[in-house]
Each structure stands twice: as structure tokens, then as C-alpha cells.
Amino acid sequence: MALADIPVAEVEAWRARAGRSFAEFAESRVAVGALAVVALLAALALLAPWVAPQNPFDLSQLSIMDNKLPPLSRGVDGQLYLLGTDDQGRDMLSAIIYGLRLSLMVAVVATATALVLGAGVGLLAAYAGGRIDAILMRLVDIQLSFPAILIALILVAILGKGVDKVVIALISVQWAYYARTIRGSALVERRREYIEAARSLALPHWRIMFRHLFPNAFPPLIVVATVQVAHAIALEATLSFLGLGVPITEPSLGLLIANGYGYMLSGSYWIAFYPGIALLVVIAAINLVGDRLSDVLNPRLNR
């Protein structure tokens, strides 16, 4: 339905462009490897209930006898703890997989919502122009002049703890980036002939904006969204580490690290170490993919 309204030639050109971009993306082995890592971690997170050795939130499965065991040790029932256990005898590997699940979910939901919101605002600004554009973009400027961590901290301090509050904070932090990016590319597209043609057909404004302007102004947002997912993961982890993010009952990676902080000084390093490695790997892999994408999608650098 959505595609049917866009002229066939446009769809084909878009497909060809996407195909070329993908081939170019695949030229970098590092980027392909990073993409594979992201896919693998996403699959692990999605399938957590089936792949994790135990359910870390089910207290009946934990045995307190097994607390703070180092990596590769066996518990009282003979099960292997690949990455050790925490202070409650929870298998760290399982806790990390479930924590990753929560971290990724929060980041993806927040990014997707912020993308829709920001893209709407940016398109409106570019399409309407004039005073509406000036006001919206001033708002974006002001928001972007404050660091994300500060805005998120303030919001969480006012709203309180909880997964939903963290998502709201992340959305509020992110929308401005999308608004600014899509406005830039939409301003260029707006002067193209196909928009003029659509206008002369007297199509409704919303239809020109979303069916014609949006698909063509969209590609730069892919890079921003990729980088922002990584930022969102890091920000959520930071808030949770500070004890202002997700509740203690379902720890994300940041909270696992905060929990391990207390035991680190007494030598149980693995409780804080491995969740951090998981965070580092997922954020670095997403950033590597984003880095390559921006090279591929930015024609200025193709030389």
C-alpha cells in the first residue's frame, strides 16, 4: 500500500541504490564482522529464555551456596558456571544474556520512537519553512547544546525510576538529532522536481510529506539511528549504574556492573568485568557498523 503510491521507477532506483550500498558495505571485512556480532547478540537477547543456562530472575533456580564463584567453576549441583556467579549465586552468563535483552529492548524501543517523532518534526520544519521551521529548529539547537547525560539525569530525577521512565528520557534525548538530520536532507529534496510535480497535482500536504519527501530524505537517518542505538545502550547503562535506571528486580547490564562494583575491591572482579565486556562489544560493534554505513552513504567521502 505504501509502496504502491510511489512511482515504480523511483522504487527501482531506490532498490538499485540500496543494492550498491550493500555491496560497498560488504567491502569492509571489519564492518561485516561487526554486523555479524550485532546479529548474533541480538539473536541471543531475543532467544534468552531458551539459550541462557538458567533464568536469573527465578529465585528458586538460584542456590545461595554458589555465591561469588569464579569463572569456570562448578556449583554444588555440579553445573558449570562459565563466567562465575554473583553474590546471590546467580549464573553471570545468564544474567548477562538477560541484561543484554533488557538493554537492547530499551534502546531499540526508544530509538524507534524517537526516530518517528524526530523525523515528523524535522519534515514538518523543512516542509513548512518560515516561522514554524525557525521555532522548531531553535528548540533543537537549544536541546543539542546540552549533553544527553544531563538531560536524561534531570528527567529521571523528576520522573523517578523504571523502565518506562528510562525510555521516555532516552526519547527526549534523541529526537532532536533525527529532526535536525532529516530537515537537512528534506530541504534539499524539497526543491526537486518530483515534489513540485506532486504539488502541482494538488496532493494533500501530509501525503507529499510522508509519501514523497520522507522516503527520499530518509537515508541519512539510517546512520544517525545506528549511532544513536549505541548511545542509548550506553546511556541506559550509565543511568542504571547510577541506580537511577531500571529496577533492581530485572537488572540490565549497567545495574549488573553496579552490583559487581562492591565486590570488585575484595577481589571478585568477574561480577563487574564480564557485563562490561558485553556492553563494550555490543556498543563497539554497532559503532563499527555505523561508521562504515556513514562512509558508504556519504558521497562526499567517496574518492
Binding site: F146, A230, L244, I257, Y261, L265
Partner: protein
């Protein structure tokens, strides 16, 4: 140019006004202002006195006027926990944060610019690719976790550096600083490194892109054609070209460092205003939270304004198109 700066100043004041209003709405309009502004331990008499003093029994717009008036006179309430004026508390913690952010910035620039230049000159070499991959790792590593790992290695395992605190300080012009004592320096190095590494990666990438861009420009070709040694072409001509974007970014990054210090200070028990904020959030010490927000917004507006001035001085294009910006 003057018109441009005045417009920016006006904008800055507008931001302060908007933020103050938001803080007011957050504290007074949402939730019960009495619970927020009066300590839960106050007895009935104290409560009534405070309600009258803060005007909480008056209409909302009168309350807003009182809030603005007391904020303008620097009276941002008294901390529930410390029993001191919130503003004094924030200001007394500010030097520690500024010192940390400043040293971190020096590390970021000192590492970032040379690394970016090296990588930009030889992007395909092992060193160049290593630096760029390293920079991606550098801004991917969660800041607080990096701090923990530094503590683990240097404080727990090697036992060469302290795990937290500020160490011995010396008063310079009445401001206590750690920078000038050996003990203070030993306490400063890990938090500053933690805070600086993320920004070092960003500056590396910025310098890298700038160098690659500059190397294709005519002035570099001309300098080479003149027969200047490569050292001078890179060290003087290219460096000058990449400094403009870097200098303007540094101002903004200083602000962002001060905000990010919240995390680093918590990890290293560094007694700055960021740690104070987190403690105040835990203990619901709301006057301090409000005071922190207002101080930090003011600081940001001032920093952004200074950056704008520097930018105007450095880049003639902004100066000339001042009318349109």
C-alpha cells in the same frame, strides 16, 4: 558581528528563563511542593513557617514570582541534608569538578590531536588503522566501567594509585586544588583519564577527518611545491587548518565534561558537584537538585556564548554573514 553576539546573548537568557520555568514546573506544579521543599522531618510549626515563607499558600503565579525573585538574589533554598544554603554547597564543590574536567580536557586534546594527525597522514598504514579502530573502542567503552577497570588494575591489583577521593589539596587564590600536590595528582590521574578518553577519541576522529580534508587542499599542495619539509607542512600548515574546528569543539566539550563528571565522580568518590547531585537525588534533597540545575544551565549558557565569540573571531564567514544567522 555585534548584532550576532547580542542575539546569541538574548538567546542564552531565553534558555535560562525557559529552564528556570521548567524547573519550577517540575518542582512546584507536578507533585506536592510542600513535600518537595520542606524537609520531611520538620514539625508542624516549621512546616507552617516554611509554607508562609515560600508562599506555598498563594496562587501559582505569585509562587512563580517569589521563585524567580529568590533565584535572582541567589537564594535557592537550604539543603535538607547539609543544612547549608544549596547554592553555597554547589559552589564549594565546583572547583573539584572544574579541575577534573580541565585536566581531562588537557588529556583529550594532548592525545587526540597528535593521534588524529598521525592517522590522517597515513590512513592506510597499520598505525593509522590502529588509531582509528582504537578511537572507536575509546568512545564505545562505557565510561563508568572503564573507571572501574582502571581502579581494578591500578588500585586493587598493582596498588600504585588510590581508588578514590581527592587527596591532599593546596589553596590557590583561596580555591583548594589537587593539581599541585603529589598526593592530589595521584588521586586525579585515574578519574581524569576515565573522563578524558571518550573525548580523546572524538577529537582524534575530528582531527583525522580534518587532516584528510586539509591534505587535499591547494595550500598543502602549494606548501609542498615550495619544497617545504613534510614535517613543516604537517606540523604547521595542516595543524593550523584542523585547529579551527577543534578549538570550537573544545569549548562545547568542556561543558559536556562537566556534565559527564557526574558519572566519573561517583565511581571515584571525587567530591565534586556531580557526586553531590547524585547524592542529592538519592536523598531527595531537592533544593540542591534545583540549585545544581540552575548553576549548570547558567554555566552552559556562558560557555556556549564564549564559544560563539571565539567562533566569530576565528571564522570570518560567520562574522560576515552575521546578519543572516
Amino acid at each position: 558581528m555585534l548584532a550576532f553576539l547580542f542575539r546569541r546573548l538574548g538567546q542564552g537568557l531565553l534558555v535560562v528563563a525557559v529552564m528556570a520555568t521548567l524547573v519550577f514546573v517540575g518542582v512546584y506544579a507536578l507533585g506536592n511542593a510542600i513535600d518537595i521543599l520542606i524537609s520531611p522531618e520538620a514539625d508542624q510549626l516549621e512546616r507552617e513557617q516554611a509554607i508562609e515563607r515560600l508562599g506555598l499558600d498563594r496562587p501559582l503565579w505569585v509562587q512563580f514570582a517569589i521563585f524567580v525573585k529568590s533565584a535572582l538574589t541567589g537564594n535557592l533554598g537550604i539543603s535538607f541534608v547539609h543544612g547549608e544554603p544549596a547554592l553555597d554547597l554547589i559552589l564549594s564543590r565546583m572547583p573539584a569538578t572544574l579541575e577534573l574536567a580541565f585536566v581531562a580536557l588537557v588529556i583529550a586534546v594532548g592525545v587526540g590531536i597528535p593521534a588524529g594527525l598521525l592517522a590522517g597522514v597515513a590512513p592506510r598504514s597499520l598505525l593509522g588503522r590502529g588509531i582509528m579502530t582504537g578511537s572507536i573502542l575509546g568512545f564505545s567503552v562505557p565510561n563508568f566501567w572503564l573507571g572501574l577497570m582502571l581502579i581494578l588494575v591500578f588500585a586493587v591489583q598493582l596498588k600504585v594509585l588510590p581508588a578514590g577521593g581527592r587527596g591532599e589539596t593546596v589553596d590557590v587564590l583561596g580555591i583548594p586544588l589537587s593539581l599541585f600536590t603529589l598526593d592530589g595528582l595521584r588521586h586525579l590521574i585515574l578519574p581524569a583519564l576515565t573522563l578524558g578518553i571518550y573525548k580523546a577519541s572524538l577529537i582524534t576522529r575530528l582531527a583525522y577527518a580534518g587532516t584528510r580534508d586539509a591534505l587535499l587542499q591547494d595550500f598543502v599542495r602549494f606548501a609542498r611545491a615550495k619544497g617545504l619539509p613534510e614535517r613543516r607542512v604537517i606540523g604547521v600548515h595542516v595543524l593550523k587548518a584542523i585547529l579551527i574546528p577543534v578549538v570550537t569543539v573544545i569549548g562545547l566539550e568542556l561543558g559536556s565534561m562537566i556534565a559527564f563528571a557526574v558519572v566519573t565522580e561517583t565511581v571515584f568518590a571525587w567530591p565534586g558537584m556531580g557526586k553531590l547531585l547524585i547524592e542529592s537525588i538519592y536523598r531527595l534533597d531537592r533544593p540542591v537538585i534545583v540549585a545544581y540545575l540552575i548553576v549548570i544551565v547558567l554555566m552552559f549558557v556562558v560557555i556556549n556564548f564564549i564559544v560563539d565569540v571565539i567562533y566569530t573571531l576565528l571564522d570570518p564567514r560567520v562574522r560576515l554573514s552575521g546578519q543572516e544567522v
